[in-house]
């Protein structure tokens, strides 16, 4: 498969997780017996999306990224790898853990327990924030490669 398609799949799955976490947050604010099943289903979907994003990114990172890394390091934005990629590749491990924890937390009694709701609200909020950070860092890495190629 074309490495650009793989990279786009990574972004797509990451965005699905991001949107899913926002959906869970809003749905949990209005949790009742009528939407608990949906919250749990979207929590699982968000976790699976994050796993897919992680697996696809891992494959791309190990197989294709070394060539991009060499280009970035020779360009005007070496920090796009030294700081941004190095930070991102390890921050997303925490994002994967939080996304995996989300469907576990969503199994609580969301309709009747404020405690269960607050854990899901905070976890989905953290997933959303970290996914947004990861997305932004990814954009900087892409720009790092672009400015390096333009400088040639």
């Amino acid at each position: 498969m074309n490495n650009n398609v793989i990279l786009m799949l990574h972004v797509l799955f990451g965005l699905l997780c991001l949107v899913g976490s926002l959906w869970i947050f809003v749905d949990t604010l209005h949790a009742s017996e009528t939407n608990v099943a949906r919250i749990r289903a979207v929590s699982l979907a968000a976790a699976l999306s994050m796993w897919a994003a992680y697996a696809v990114a891992g494959y791309w990172y190990i197989v294709f990224y070394p060539a991009d890394k060499a280009i970035i390091l020779k360009g005007p934005w070496p920090f796009a790898h030294d700081l941004v990629m190095e930070t991102k590749e390890h921050l997303v491990i925490m994002l994967l853990l939080l996304a995996t924890f989300l469907p576990i937390a969503a199994r609580g009694r969301l309709a009747s327990s404020k405690a269960a709701r607050s854990v899901v609200l905070w976890t989905s909020g953290l997933v959303f924030a970290l996914a947004l950070v990861a997305d932004s860092l990814g954009a900087i890495i892409g720009m790092g490669a672009k400015v390096a190629l333009l400088a040639k």
Partner: protein, 112 residues
């Protein structure tokens, strides 16, 4: 792993508390492993040789730790798990994520 009767009032379910704490602990240990592998070449080399890439080994280590700690905590206290209010659990989770993130970001920003 299902919602238990303990999931009432201000006490989240056993699995929620256990894997919430596991998320925090794993986040911090994973961040410390970043510093360790970047500063100790022997550790980086062994992580590379374990799976072919240090990041793959790091990911695998974090997932195994997350599952081990989470499942282990569900079994303590006679299978009842740890008793903890949602407020305290959230403090643990948010602290773990903030500390872990700060270690990673701080390391690559200032120390690497």
């Amino acid at each position: 792993m299902d919602a238990s009767p303990q999931d009432r009032d201000d006490e989240p379910a056993n699995a929620t508390v256990s894997f919430g704490i596991s998320t925090a602990i794993t986040s911090v240990i994973s961040a410390l492993l970043v510093v360790l592998k970047e500063k100790v070449p022997a550790i980086m080399a062994s992580m590379k040789s374990a799976t072919g890439h240090h990041w793959a080994t790091h990911s695998l280590f974090a997932l195994v730790l997350f599952l081990t700690v989470g499942l282990g905590l569900t079994r303590v206290n006679g299978g009842q798990g740890l008793k903890m209010t949602s407020g305290r659990l959230l403090q643990v989770i948010v602290s773990g994520v903030v500390i872990g993130g700060s270690i990673i970001g701080g390391f690559y920003l200032f120390m690497d």
